[in-house]
Symmetry: D2
Subunit: 425 residues, 4 copies
């Protein structure tokens, strides 16, 4: 059943690592992936708006805002025509192998980076070995460089195998803002999915460990709000202001006090706040970036509605208009135990894997759940697996790194699992 890839995994991953691009700005990344995929050779390759409906995107940026990123991608050598196809920030792509009768199997990997300044310390391997981010202020600090490597290598391996059926790899953009999961899940490429594998590296699992099916991926939503009031001189006419700062204070206090729910775990956070212009001016405007989560999608909805109401009335109380936007959201989905068992079997056979967990708790959120839910709606099965890696520091830190031994593990486990279900539709 084994299949192999001739790609140099470490080299691929380092290439991606050197040029990180954040959510909805993965122009060079997408163009590079497209190039590599064409080298492998596939039956369908859909870039950006060909792969999904841009209207389905969440947390989408202002088109003007991403223009400099397009320019930079072209300057670095990306195919200008390909980049233009993504104008407005419609990044990401989908590759398909059509190989006769058999199930529709999907693999989902994500491709975006973070706004983090990568360490240039000697103790940071990418810095020491010369593949540190060349895109200052951004960094692949969550391992999506490894994920893309897996996407390509597994595509290559499946192509070279006797897989029968349809194999689709979703190179999803904008995972970090929960923005790209929905358009991928809504696209025609997700039609008829029988099996869907989503994968992540690390997450505190060591090199050699594989989690076959993650449980309890929390439903979540990102919520932004702007309070618009009226400024006034704080000394001469405090009564003439409609104080956005007071709206902010009331909003923060009451957001955290949204009642706990009897049905299960909920979360709420106001993570970022900015307000006002000068100490002697009644603040005209305040903005917050917050989020809410729930153990189930219903609980997330409960928190979202409560949060929206709380922010709206906090504005009203102080004569401010509150514009509340749900920027993005993702549902709760659990891994399918039977498909996880397939992964577990593949993992037990994989060289270098010495610890296999059938399942583990996640406790956070992931917009891979959109594709997972779609697969279930299509009558299929989905699992979210983790390939462990010894990462020196936490995800989302300037010294995060991947133990490259795990690259091989991921390719082997994923390929074997895909071929397993590919043989038995």
């Amino acid at each position: 059943m084994a299949a192999t890839t001739t790609l140099d995994l470490s080299r691929l991953r380092r290439e991606f690592h050197r040029y990180p691009e954040p959510a909805w700005r993965e122009f060079y990344t997408t163009a590079t992936l497209a190039e590599r995929i064409e080298e492998i050779g596939v039956d369908e390759l859909a870039v950006g708006p060909e792969a999904y409906d841009p209207e389905d995107r969440m947390a989408a940026p202002d088109p003007e805002e991403v223009r400099p990123w397009m320019r930079r991608a072209v300057e670095r050598g990306a195919d200008e025509e390909v980049v233009e196809r993504m104008a407005g920030g419609n990044t990401g792509l989908v590759a398909v192998l059509d190989r006769g009768d058999g199930p529709h199997v999907g693999l989902r990997v994500d491709i975006d980076a973070l706004y983090i300044e990568e360490s240039d310390g000697e103790d940071h391997l990418p810095a020491r070995e010369g593949f540190r981010s060349e895109n200052e202020g951004t960094m692949h600090a969550c391992g999506h460089d490894a994920h893309m490597t897996w996407g390509l290598a597994v595509l290559d391996a499946v192509k070279q195998s006797d897989f029968s059926g349809r194999f689709t790899v979703f190179f999803q953009p904008a995972e970090e803002v929960s923005g790209g999961g929905r358009p991928m899940a809504e696209s025609e490429y997700a039609v008829g999915l029988d099996y869907l594998f989503a994968v992540h590296v690390g997450l505190d699992h060591p090199t050699g460990e594989v989690v076959a099916g993650i449980e309890r991926i929390l439903a979540m939503c990102h919520v932004d709000a702007t309070f618009k009031g009226t400024s006034a001189h704080a000394g001469k006419a405090p009564n003439e202001g409609d104080n956005a700062m007071q709206a902010l204070g009331t909003a923060i206090q009451n957001a955290y006090a949204i009642p706990r729910h009897s049905e299960g775990m909920t979360r709420v956070n106001v993570g970022v706040a900015e307000a006002g212009t000068a100490s002697n001016v009644i603040a005209e405007e305040a903005t917050i970036h917050g989020e809410a989560r729930g153990e189930t999608t219903e609980l997330m909805e409960y928190m979202k509605e409560k949060l929206r109401d709380t922010l709206t009335t906090a504005g009203e109380m102080h004569g401010c208009e509150a514009e509340v936007n749900v920027v993005s959201e993702s549902p709760r989905v659990d891994s399918d135990p039977e498909l996880a068992a397939v992964v577990a079997d593949a993992a037990r056979d994989a060289s270098g894997v010495d610890s296999v967990l059938e399942s583990a708790d996640f406790g956070a959120s992931e917009d891979a759940t959109f594709l997972m839910r779609r697969a279930k709606e299509e009558g299929g099965r989905a699992t979210y697996l983790v390939v462990g890696t010894d990462h020196p520091t936490s995800h989302h830190t300037p010294t995060f790194d991947v133990d490259e031994r795990s690259l091989e593990h991921g390719v082997e486990v994923l390929t074997d699992a895909i071929l397993s279900v590919g043989e038995s539709p």
Copy 2:
């Protein structure tokens, strides 16, 4: 009694207008003033640390932070040696005429600009006539360009008069942050002040109107606070955080709720707030810029202490350390009615002045009160006068402007008042 100046007031004012520099960054401004004063010729000229003890400054910047402003001042043509004397942000200067027996008369003008982007609209005269700010992002939007013009012109006029005594002009830096008033007041140049005139343009009084003595200059303080907590993942471990955002919310709500005081008017404002880094992270840090005022210095002290306590316990409540700094403060001082009467007399005689108010309410704050208080402590008298001007929009707005007819009014009223008291020690 009349004295005149040969200086071109409008030209002077426009020169200052073209190169605004904010508080503690008035390097080019100070150097230019020094040059002009030397052209006039004085008995003493003290620049920066020669004029006051840098330790007495309030709201002083980090020395590194002002270095680029020094470079820019030299590039524009400021005397490098003079600029270096002000290294660290010790700007401003004092000029003295020593003219035999007689009283010590002081004139205080302020020299700093604001962080405001000046309008380039056709309806904005400085833009239309080509003397708009060349220092992008900063602007003389409070008329300090007119104040400096008065400082030089009155110095020139007094020099050419038969004034007998000592005449000191305080070109005070950093008024907008209430930072420069104290060092000027504490300096040896304030010793023995018999009369002190402080002056402002505009303040909603029209061209041709003069207020001889302002009442009720509120005592005020600027208070900054930083809440330092512990960040944590908002989904996985909200309980591991010490949430600076919650400290912020509690602080805002309780600051505004500090009790009103039976002895008179008080004010409190949290004008600026910033907190957190990402929507899914418990905020590690939050900062605010606030202020408190009182109708008397005692009431300001009451508010200051309450605000300090409120911020400190708001931090404690959420496990955060609250660093609270009183960045600057200024006392309440009222104009002396007898000295105001001298100004009123001078104003009534001045050409172009058609409305003279003995006094008017201020309702805001000013660190000129430091020098005024010092004069009183020295056994002297002080008044704060306003020379009206038709300003098209409010102070501190991008289209603020001065009606240049009022330049002449100010020189005449101030010179006559100074000579009046100079004749009768």
Copy 3:
């Protein structure tokens, strides 16, 4: 000009002191006053609804609630027919002397007591001398017993004088809840008032001191609110509640934070709060009793509207209906300086008075301002005077007492002032 009364002031005052009745429950008090007035003999005597329109009352009680007080009054010996006339809590009365041509002069005294348990300590004179409250839990702790004594004695003295004109004494109920001022002011008895004297004892002025005209009687309003939510088990289903306790917390915090006003002094207080039934139940209901004040009636209105909005949105935020009621209110009125001068003259002539203040600051509120405002609207003048008394402890405390020497002072000053204006219409 002097006139005298043959009434025993001390005895009268002690009678009133022994049977205190709170606002809108002054049944025995009113009946007793009516009896005494008939002994004096007047031209008109209007009790309760004869004196005013009950619809104009503020903070009026539930009719059932006052029934026991009616019963008790009759049991103590009040004329049952008179008490029945006041059914529903329409207490208080007006007495009129019609004495030929001349001005219409009014005197306003208030008659209600407080819900305070009077001290039975040996150091408390009423206890020691046997005239402590016999109506447990209520007490004349603000000197209205002295005020009634003045009302009767001055009526008697004016009757025996050569006063010419119309003299009306308003024995106003329910001052402590700002409830009785409006109906008295709206009544026909206030028509054509040329002079109106309102009087208070004590207020921190010692025996022998008289304040001829009080300034700055603040406008005020009493505001009650009830938050009605939904209860739920705090352990099993916190999310099913609409938490009136959270509405309360939000209301309190934001009420005190209503912005200060540039036009002058404002006040706000939430004085009483009650919420919930058990520690393990989400509170279904919360109630507050609050108030707002302003240096002017307009400022009070500003505070009242802000408070109403704040309470309403605090309820909304937590899914509770907020019922906000303005229970009562009184305007700002100042004493007329010319009429105060008449009082000052009378006071300077009075035996035992050794300190006369033309005016003094009040800093609190009083619903006598309704009648004062009415007098001004009628083209007349009004003053609020204070007759000092050495009171051992503050007003509204269990050991408050009146120095009875001041009873004579009040009668003399009031009578003389009334006769002064009565002689010169």
Copy 4:
């Protein structure tokens, strides 16, 4: 194995129902139980301080406060000597059968009532049938009357059986305030417990249903706080107050905002608040009754400490002293599955029982967990079972009632389970 009781269950339960007494005031109840137990005949009978150390009580009342309840108990016919033994509120008792070799088996029932006014409606069976509460304002609204009946009847049945070993019935006082569980658990009567059965009626399970072992009894604590500040006149001197009302508002808002915990479910509630005396007085004092819960004892401890800190600093912020008392608390304990299986077997055999649940979720708290934990610490097993009953309305409501058919069910299930373990030590 079957054993029977000759007691009239319905009559017993109705006797208890007619004379409800709240926590630490069960004088008549305890005396009656003692009398009945003596009629049955036991080897040991320990009343009040003989059964436990009074120091271990939680939420214990002021001794003076319970004195009227003692008097009333004696008036109703309780043995005065027995009542006196409980002076200070040391109610409750323990009965023991010592029957040779064998295990130590315990049964815990609770005996206190609630401060609820029982319905006198025709639709309320106790009213209709004449056994409504004769102790106005208190009511057996949680079925403890049924629990006591079971305690006596099971004691009787075990006595008449061939049970071998030691059988202890804990008639625990003060369950509703979580006050009596600890002293019972700390007493010598709990030494060596091999099996402990705790039982409750109803809890939304219908007549004929039995839950053999309750899971997830939340750990909880009752927390009271008093904020002591300084009163002041809200109009004249708001700044002189230390406002307990503001402390209250801050406390409420921040208590509900205590962060959710990653380890599991938490709860917090401020159920009751009272503050202030008059609308125009800055509140001197405010009190709250609150609680916190956790899915584990550790989580409850987390909430308790956070709540304590929050209340303390809320006081500090407003110059008030916060006295925070943890009035009582109870740990999380789960039923032992093996002992629950014994109960389930007994239930399946019981006549009238047609639905047996091995386990069910509780979601609330119970201080039976003290004795359950003690049994586990002694190396034994414990279970908390529910005997269903059709109750017309919720527990803790004025029309709560027990379907008396369930009395028989409880006796049968408990006796059989006890004899089962009693046969096989």
